[in-house]
C-alpha cells in the first residue's frame, strides 16, 4: 500500500481544526431569548388608558401621538 504524503494531510488537519473552533451561537445550549408581544396588543390589566383599542395598532399609534402632544404646552395652551 502506498504511503500517504504528509502534505496531503494538511487540508484534513485544517478542516479538523476549523471544526473544533466553530460552534453554534453563544446562547446555544443555554437560555434562549423569548419573543416579545408588541405594545399595541395591550396590557390586559385594569390600568390601560382610555381612548384606544387594545389589539388595534393604528389606534395605539394615535394614542401615542396624543400622549406625546400632551407634553407640548404650545398646543395645550391653545386648546389644540
Amino acid at each position: 500500500m502506498r504511503p500517504l504524503c504528509p502534505w496531503r494531510l494538511v487540508p484534513l488537519a485544517a478542516a479538523a481544526a476549523l471544526a473544533a473552533c466553530s460552534g453554534g451561537s453563544p446562547s446555544e445550549g443555554g437560555a434562549v431569548r423569548k419573543n416579545d408581544a408588541p405594545a399595541w396588543q395591550g396590557a390586559g390589566n385594569p390600568y390601560v388608558a382610555e381612548g384606544w383599542k387594545a389589539g388595534d395598532q393604528t389606534s395605539w399609534e394615535q394614542q401615542m401621538r396624543v400622549r406625546v402632544q400632551g407634553q407640548n404646552e404650545y398646543t395645550r395652551g391653545s386648546g389644540g
Binding site: S27, A43, V48, M64
Partner: protein, 207 residues
Amino acid sequence: MARMKFICDAERCIECNGCVTACKAEHEVPWGVNRRRVVTMNDGQPGERSISVACMHCSDAPCMAVCPVDCFYRTDDGVVLHDKDVCIGCGYCSYACPFGAPQFPANGQFGLRGKMDKCTFCAGGPEDNGSAAENEKYGRNRLAEGKLPICAEMCSTKALLGGDGDMVADIFRTRVLTRGKGSEVWGWGTAYGKPGGTPPKTGTTKS
C-alpha cells in the same frame, strides 16, 4: 412606526430628580439601581446645567453588539430591551454603554452582581404584556397600557420629553425657536468646542 426616544431640555431641567423618583416608584427598582439619573455640569457655578439621563435606546446599540449571550432585542418601536432569563450578568454592556445605562443590583453581602437592569422605556420585557412576571422582572409596561414613560409624563417642567423621536424633536425645536436659545447647551459644541471658538470649559460634574 414610531421610533421611541427621550430628549432632555437643559434650559428647563431644574434638577428636582422627580423623574428619578417616579421611575423608582413605578417599577419598584431594587436598592442601588437607578435606571435614570440627573447629571449636573458646573454644579453651583453660574450657568450650571442639568440633564436627565437613562438608556437612550440607541439605534445602533453598543450593548446589543457586545452581549455574549444575545439577550438584547429591539422592539418595532425602537425600544432596546433585554431578557433577564438569558442575561448572565457579565457586565460587558455596562462597559460598552456611553451613558452608564446598564445597572447591576448589589444584592449580596460581597457585592454579588445580579442580572442587568436598565430603563425599558416603560415597555417591560419579553414576558406577557402587563403580567405579574413582567412587572416583577422589568416593572410596569406603560406602553402596552397606552401611556408614555412615567419619567417624561411626570416631569413638572416638561424638560424631559419621551415618545416618537420626530414628534419630541418637533416640540423641542418649537421651544428653541420661540425662546431663541437653548439648542447650544448640549451637543457637539459643548463637548468639543465650536469652530474657531474657545475650547470647552472643564467643570465639575455630579450625578
